[in-house]
Symmetry: C2
Subunit: 252 residues, 2 copies
C-alpha cells in the first residue's frame, strides 16, 4: 500500500503547498534521502521537478504499490542527479491523512526493495538500512516479480473485498445489518481510497488480471466441491487453507 491518496492532485498544487510555504522545495538540496509518497501518475512530474535540485549522491526512494512502471519512469529521471531505488513497505491501513498516523506502523512489517539494473549496490544497502531503522524487515525483489507477488497478496484481496461488498449490496443490501467481525475483517480494505486504488489496480492490470482469473477458477473448484456434497474433500480444501493461514500467525 502506498502512503498517499492524492493521485489526482494537480502537480502545481503540490508545489504551491496548498497555500502553505514551500520551504521543503527550497530545502531539498540539503536532503540526504528523499521519499516520494505520491502515486504513479504524479510521481514522474514531481521527479522531473526535484531531480535537478538534488545534491549529488542523494538517495531517492518511493512507497508505491506498483513497481515496474514506476521504476521504469523514475530511474532515468534521477539517473544523472541522484540514486533512485524503489521500495514498498507492506504497512498502512484503509485510512488516510495525518490523523491516521501511527508511530509503530513499520514495526516488523516487510518492506520490499526493488532494485533494477541501474541501481548501485550502495544505494540498495542504504535504502534497506533506512527501512530497517524504521523497524521493518527488508527483502529484495525485481520490480516485475514484486508486481506479480503484490497482485496476489494485496491487489487481488482489495478487489475481492470491494467485489464482495458490491455483491452483497446487489443481492441483499439488508444483509449488511447482520454481519459480524468475519465480514468486517474480510472487507476492511474496501474502505481504502477508491481513487488511489483504481490507479494502483490499473497500473498493475496485467498481473492482476492473471490473479483474478486464477481466483475465478479456484472459486469454480470450490463451487464444484459444494455441489458434489463430498464433505471430505471440502474439509481438505479448508484444512489446506487453515494450515497455510495459521503459519502467518507466527510471523508478522
Amino acid at each position: 500500500m502506498s502512503a498517499s491518496a492524492s493521485g489526482k492532485m494537480d502537480i502545481n498544487e503540490v508545489f504551491r503547498g496548498g497555500g502553505r510555504s514551500v520551504e521543503w522545495l527550497d530545502a531539498i538540496n540539503k536532503a540526504s534521502i528523499v521519499m516520494l509518497a505520491e502515486t504513479g501518475l504524479v510521481a514522474p512530474a514531481l521527479a522531473e521537478k526535484i531531480a535537478p535540485l538534488l545534491a549529488p549522491g542523494t538517495l531517492v526512494t518511493d512507497v508505491g504499490s506498483v513497481k515496474a512502471p514506476v521504476v521504469e519512469s523514475l530511474a532515468p529521471i534521477f539517473k544523472n542527479h541522484a540514486h533512485f531505488v524503489g521500495s514498498h513497505p507492506m504497512a498502512g491501513s484503509e485510512q488516510t491523512g495525518f490523523a491516521a498516523a501511527n508511530a509503530g506502523l513499520f514495526d516488523d512489517a516487510v518492506c520490499i526493495i526493488t532494485p533494477d539494473a541501474s541501481s548501485t549496490p550502495e544505494a540498495v544497502v542504504a535504502v534497506a538500512e533506512f527501512w530497517t531503522l524504521l523497524g521493518s524487515r527488508t527483502s529484495e525483489l525485481s520490480p516485475a516479480v514484486h508486481d506479480e507477488v503484490i497482485a496476489l497478496v494485496s491487489h487481488l484481496p482489495h478487489l475481492l473485498a470491494a467485489t464482495l461488498v458490491n455483491l452483497v449490496c446487489s443481492q441483499n443490501p439488508n444483509s449488511l445489518n447482520f454481519c459480524g467481525n468475519g465480514f468486517r475483517d474480510t472487507t476492511r480494505v474496501a474502505s481504502g481510497s477508491a481513487e488511489m486504488w483504481s490507479e494502483i489496480l490499473q497500473s498493475n492490470r496485467e498481473a492482476l488480471k492473471k490473479s483474478v482469473g486464477g481466483m475465478i477458477e479456484k472459486m469454480r473448484e470450490a463451487l464444484e466441491l459444494l455441489d458434489s456434497g463430498d464433505e471430505t474433500r471440502l474439509n481438505q480444501f479448508l484444512t489446506d487453507a487453515k494450515t497455510e493461514r495459521d503459519r502467518l500467525k507466527t510471523r508478522k
Copy 2:
C-alpha cells in the same frame, strides 16, 4: 459463527464428559435456560437425550450458524418438553477453546433470533432478553431468510478467504512472505476450524451456491472493468464498495 468445533465428536463421548463427571446431565432438570453449542450433526442426538429430562417450560436455544435444518430437526424434538427458539450470535473469532474466551464477546454484536411457526411469542421474547442481557442487539429473521443472509455475509466470506489462501499457495507460495495486514485481515477467518466450517458450509449449500455463483459473476464484471482500461468505471466500482463499507464503521 457457532461456538463449538466438535462436529465429529462421538455423542457418547459428550455424555461420558471425556472422563469428567457428568453432573451437568443430572442437573439439567433444574435449568431454566439451556444453550446448545454443538454443531448441526450432533445437536439432534443431544436434543433427543436431554429433552425428556427438562423441566416443563424450560427455554432452549442454540448458537448454530445454519438455522433452517437445525430448527426443523430440533423444534419437534423439544415440542412436548420445552420451548425451543433458534439463535445465532454474530460474534466469535477464528479461535476455539477456553483460552479464546472473551468477556466482551457479545457486546454490541448482532444476535439473530429465528422463530418458526412452533415458537411461542413468550419464548421468543425470553431468548431475545437473554442475548440482550449479554450485551447483544437482537433481530428476528425466519430460519430460511437467516440462512440466505448468512450465506452472503459469513459463509461466502469464509469460503473466499480459504479460496484466496489456496490460490496464493498454488500460484506463488513465496508470496506469503510479503503479505501485509490487508491480506491478513482478508483471510483471518480461514484459520477457523476446518471441520466445523465444512459442516456449516455443507449444511447451507443451496444458499451458499447461489452466493458463490453471484460472486463469480461479479468478479467477471471486475475483470472486464480491468480489461477495458476504463479507470472511471473502476473508480466507481471501488467508490460504491467504499461507501457501503464505510457505513459499517458507524455501527458495530
